[in-house]
Symmetry: C3
Subunit: 132 residues, 3 copies
């Protein structure tokens, strides 16, 4: 945790550098201060086939979903989400200015009773701090 | 909202025109009458690697999930879902007739407290109505 | 049901045979004994763009989500999940040994009231048993 998945219409590849987008979301998640660094995972899924609103081919979308663990209250989640969404939205200003576009962001909470993980990134990051 | 995501086994590309499938789902969503036109986003995610049932390579699947906002009662959601599923299922009759195939459709409701959006498609559609 | 979706960082393609991974998850799901064979669908979604933890390019992740139907109690779900996760985790030992990697597995339960399906694999499997 946390997991950010960004699904997007394939026509965005010509308008946005998706590598920069995922990196920007990662940084915003770090800045929110509510996530352990080693747990942050952001990824984008390109959708070759899509149909939006009235079906016009020039429409685009980016839909982000965050799955996170239990244990943070609503106010904390809202504040973090607000920061991440604002950052992403501002970066996409040119996309809004130059075309018809829909951006969204929703959160889901994973059930801790049925959640498994194994992660050696936390320890690697600690080792870097100690040895770095 | 609403967001339709269709995950499918890569072997369907030879049997189905996925561009037509997403367009058909979009139209059925419009016909259901419960969604604002400008919010409808349908997309397909092709899965290169998959393993189904007993693992036979000729099996196929298409799994659709709809994420929608709060505020519609169960009867409304069921009626809309029924229409969309029937439409999609009928279109895929040849796939069922010619092979072993599993189709599914599930709904999820997004928490309105942690939901952000920015969308200039609604306004663009209104402008088209006024100017068109 | 059940649906297993594995999202993974594109850099894993050089380290893991993802075709074997989905087949291994399928087998582990069968072994768990709680799923009808004809309903098991495992797939992997490759993510070309991703940003993990401190943003280092050599980090990797695999995030599995299982969506399953209602009707199995928590103890049953936990036991099945434990088996599937252990199997997958053990297979990925070399990935953990040779790099920084994050594996996760979460379960979600679909609302039976808004769930539709059509599946001719069940009958095909029965016919194979009878005729085989």
């Amino acid at each position: 945790m946390p997991h950010f998945t960004l699904e997007y219409s394939g026509n965005l590849d010509a308008r946005v550098d998706m590598g920069k987008v995922v990196e920007m979301v990662r940084k915003a998640a770090v800045e929110s201060g509510i996530f352990p660094l080693g747990g942050i995972r952001v990824r984008a899924v390109r959708c070759e086939h899509y149909a939006i609103a009235d079906g016009s081919a020039d429409l685009g979308f980016l839909a982000m979903v965050l799955r996170l663990g239990e244990g943070r209250d609503l106010a904390t989640r809202k504040k973090a989400g607000e920061h991440i969404f604002k950052t992403l939205s501002a970066y996409l200003d040119p996309v809004f200015a130059n075309g018809k576009f829909a951006l969204s962001f929703d959160m889901q909470i994973n059930d801790k009773e049925t959640s498994w993980k194994r992660n050696n990134i936390h320890d690697a990051l600690k080792a870097e701090v100690i040895n770095g």
